[in-house]
């Protein structure tokens, strides 16, 4: 397996505060990796560094062999680094079909087309419809986004990201706030993603982490504490200390 993403000595300071410090980390192509850590461990900042929303204070980011440290957020999306948000960032005034088609059109550089009506862009609309159907959202395609259930909006959140054809998908707590009976849909969706998409999952719910991840990275105080298989991480004494009081045992499968 080859490395798809690599960060070398990546740091970010805000004023005197070090949010991410010297993180050196490599993600394998096709990985099912989780990134965990207590609140304030720097997970969000790390994601923002990867997507380019925040420039690093030091360090380097390499993606598919290319140094992307200085690339704009848009350019990174075009290279295949796509994220979802912990709090839904959807287009409330569009239908899911429009939202996903918009992502498809932007990906193909066709969103600047001005003279042909949207309705005649069949390839984009068909692709969007297909994606929505594959996530079980076929019946919600034309319903105003604001009227769909929360759990299905979480699925739409992922669907919009998939429409960008990611090579690396950054999932920020995809199941956050989702009621129990809809959780499975989301985890199945994530589990069924093709291996051509590498996944970095940020999650608090250890149940989900251990069910999904093949490797786990633990961020504490902005630094990478441990990186290894779920078993290694679960049995690591430092991780247990960091998560004082919280259970980190792998659930009996």
């Amino acid at each position: 397996m080859s490395v798809i993403l690599e960060t070398n000595g990546l740091s970010r300071r805000f004023g005197g505060l070090r949010a991410v410090g010297n993180v050196t980390f490599a993600l394998q192509d096709g990985a099912r990796q989780a990134l965990i850590g207590p609140n304030g461990a720097g997970k969000t900042t790390y994601i923002n560094l990867l997507t380019g929303v925040v420039p690093p204070s030091e360090g380097r980011i390499t993606f598919l062999g290319e140094d992307i440290t200085r690339l704009s957020p848009e350019a990174r999306v075009r290279r295949g680094i796509v994220r979802t948000f912990q709090i839904n960032q959807l287009f409330d005034e569009m239908t899911p079909l429009e939202a996903v088609a918009l992502a498809v059109l932007e990906r193909d550089g066709k969103a600047r087309a001005m003279w042909r009506p949207l309705a005649s862009h069949h390839e984009a609309l068909d692709e969007a419809a297909g994606l929505l159907a594959s996530l079980g959202l076929a019946d919600a395609m034309e319903v105003p986004t604001a009227e769909i259930s929360y759990g299905r909006r979480r699925l739409l959140e992922i669907c919009v990201a998939l429409a960008c054809r990611p090579r690396l998908l950054l999932l920020d707590e995809p199941a956050a706030g989702v009621p129990e009976h809809e959780r499975n849909d989301i985890m199945n969706t994530v589990a069924n993603l093709p291996r051509t998409v590498s996944v970095l999952l940020i999650e608090h719910d250890m149940d989900l982490v251990f069910r999904f991840a093949e490797r786990i990275a633990v961020l504490v105080g902005g630094e990478l504490l441990v990186e290894g298989t779920p078993d290694e991480v679960a049995n690591d004494i430092r991780v247990k200390e960091a998560y004082l009081g919280e259970s980190l045992d792998a659930p009996a499968a």
């Binding site: 957020p73 569009m94 969103a111 001005m114 949207l118 919009v160 990201a161 960008c164």
Partner: protein, 313 residues
């Protein structure tokens, strides 16, 4: 329905033959409001100075005619071109910063142009206005007549063509992208959309159509005054969109008609002070009827559909 709407100018022509200048003004105001709607209703950029581009267009068309080029169609295109160029250049300044910054910069641009037009009296006629705008016949055939017949049809046709173009734009993938930028710029960036480039384009196109509207006014009234750049003109366009409903192509047209008719009526009752009622109307609309006429229409249609669905069950 839509065909009927666009056939309306014909009966209006015969019904209100003596009020044609008013109808012409409505068409021009509607075009101006439509151009603002692209910027405001679709792209979500709040502008207090859209009159800058209207005025640029008006002076371009007016000055061309005064200095010996009275051909209307090319004059109008020139008005649009100048406003487009100005819109493109100023968009980079406008799009920096927050809503508040945008308010300030758009207002400042229009004030700056107003001041410039006032100072360059040798060119623009300053506060006296620009006289001597003489138009050649359209296509060399249709003379601009005293009754305003030609001006009326000319304005209605320009409005129609611009309307078709603007509607094509908002119904295109680009229009969808603009709604995306307005709805959730954070997510637009996260799907790799060139947000700023979209906004620059929308602002530039909106400015261009405002220029055409301004040029149309100069040609139809054969006069340009500093008024074309004044703040109240920008405010009027905003008001028209509030009345008609923004983010909806017919909103601008309905709003313009309602606004001008109301204005005529109110200034008939209290000349000079009709601005008071204008302000009061604005406040009431904002507090109680944010969808405008189009919003009311849609609510009505939705209700009709619902009752029909219920009957079908």
């Amino acid at each position: 329905m839509e065909i009927l709407f666009w056939l309306l100018p014909i009966p209006l022509f015969f019904l209100f033959g003596l009020r044609l200048p008013l109808l012409t003004e409505i068409a021009i105001l509607a075009l101006f409001a439509l151009s603002l709607d692209l910027i405001l209703g679709y792209a979500g950029i709040v502008s207090l100075g859209h009159a800058a581009f209207f005025g640029l267009g008006a002076y371009t068309a007016g000055l061309l005619a005064v200095h010996g080029w009275g051909e209307p169609i090319t004059g109008l295109l020139a008005a649009g071109a100048v406003a487009t160029a100005a819109g493109f250049v100023s968009s980079f300044l406008v799009l920096r910063g927050s809503d508040l910054t945008r308010l300030m910069v758009t207002l400042a641009i229009s004030m700056m142009l107003l001041e410039a037009a006032n100072r360059l009296a040798w060119l623009t006629g300053g506060a006296d206005g620009l006289y001597g705008v003489t138009m050649w016949p359209i296509f060399g055939i249709f003379e601009f007549d005293l009754y305003g017949h030609t001006a009326y049809w000319y304005s209605v046709i320009v409005l129609f063509i611009s309307f078709v173009a603007l509607r094509a734009i908002v119904n295109s993938p680009f229009g969808l992208a603009l709604r995306g930028v307005k709805g959730n710029p954070l997510r637009m960036r996260a799907i790799g959309a060139p947000v700023n480039r979209h906004l620059v384009k929308a602002f530039t196109i909106g400015a261009g159509f405002a220029g055409i509207a301004g040029g149309l006014l100069a040609q139809a009234t054969q006069f340009v005054s500093l008024d074309v750049l004044a703040f109240h003109r920008s405010a009027e366009a905003l008001l028209v969109l509030v009345i008609g409903g923004s983010g909806a192509v017919y909103g601008g047209i309905l709003g313009a008609a309602a606004f001008r008719v109301l204005q005529e009526w109110l200034s008939g009752i209290t000349p000079q002070y009709w601005q008071f009622w204008l302000g009061a109307g604005l406040i009431v609309l904002v507090l109680f009827a944010r969808g405008g006429l189009i919003g009311l229409w849609r609510a009505l249609v939705r209700r009709l559909h619902r009752t029909r669905d219920e009957e079908a069950r």
